[in-house]
Symmetry: C2
């Protein structure tokens, strides 16, 4: 039998996926988990702490998807492509979780040791992007002096994140009625890759 703690975050994940991040109340989670409304307090001192735990679960899931989807032996650009696809795929498929993971206002502060530690959670991914950019640069040197790899990686990630974000609320389907949905999204990912990492 799973522990109460595990049941709580599992129920939380379920609710976040079903109703969105803001609709998830502490008491509702407790009900779903089959415990009284005061039980969560034994494990999470506050509502935010519970949400943070749920978000951490999301980061773990995402990391697992990366591990499964990205082939470390493929050329760096292909790895970046796979990573990007996984990223937006996760955001589309598990929208509520994705939103929650980056709603730093809902989560505990960075200085709080029990917080989600957004930086720590996203840093491995970011470092990986930086490393892949470096590898790609080494394999495809260009004429001019390019921007530092960290800047390019940040720009690429920002592009990726912005695409998923804007895609989420449908502002783009309208603007990109040219193709069917899946294609259009992929095109934006490709555009981001091409732009920041010229082949």
């Amino acid at each position: 039998m799973e522990s109460v703690r595990e049941r709580l975050v599992a129920a939380g994940v379920e609710l976040v996926l079903r109703d969105g991040a803001d609709a998830v109340g502490l008491r509702e989670i407790a009900r779903r988990a089959g415990v009284s409304h005061g039980a969560p307090r034994r494990y999470f001192p506050t509502h935010r702490a519970l949400l943070s735990a749920i978000a951490r679960q999301g980061f773990a899931d995402l990391a697992a998807r990366f591990a499964a989807a990205v082939d470390a032996d493929a050329p760096p650009r292909e790895q970046l492509r796979a990573l990007s696809r996984t990223y937006v795929g996760y955001a589309v498929e598990r929208r509520g979780m994705f939103d929650l993971m980056f709603r730093h206002d809902l989560l505990r502060g960075e200085d709080d040791p029990d917080g989600p530690r957004l930086r720590e959670a996203t840093l491995p991914m970011f470092d990986r992007i930086v490393e892949l950019v470096r590898q790609h640069r080494r394999a495809h040197p260009t004429a001019g002096r390019p921007a530092p790899a960290a800047v390019t990686a940040a720009a690429l990630w920002a592009n990726l994140h912005g695409v998923t974000q804007l895609w989420g609320w449908g502002s783009m389907q309208l603007a990109l009625r040219t193709g069917e949905d899946g294609k259009a999204l992929d095109r934006l990912v490709t555009a981001a890759l091409d732009a920041h990492l010229p082949a």
Copy 2:
């Protein structure tokens, strides 16, 4: 004397800027505006509707800033640069409002005629970007066949939006310790522009 309606959204804006989008309660706004907690209901049928009105105010402010900052006679690339700077500037300066404006979950649905009409609110800006991209392309034709202007514009906007988003929660200062803050942000904006719109 300004109307109660105006005082309500003014008080709302003030609160959003001070405490963030989620901390703004209906009753608190009413208190700030000096009316009873039931008064807002006369003008806004629900809490979301009031938040939507506040968000609309934000879009109006942003549009006004664009009008003031972007010189229609400048070369397209410079116009895009000015627009981008204004965008991230607004986001940094009025963080709470910026967050609220794109928190579609808090706002009323798109199909609701009283909703914020996110698409309608952002469409003018998007169309402008598309047009500027076209103008730039006309002035600087490239060899290969480029992606459709709408796709490039969307990618550019996504990049811009992602930069402001990620910048917001400080994930980037850490990664880009290379320069002082203002410089780093500007570098990312420049990178986005360079990437999607090669000079």
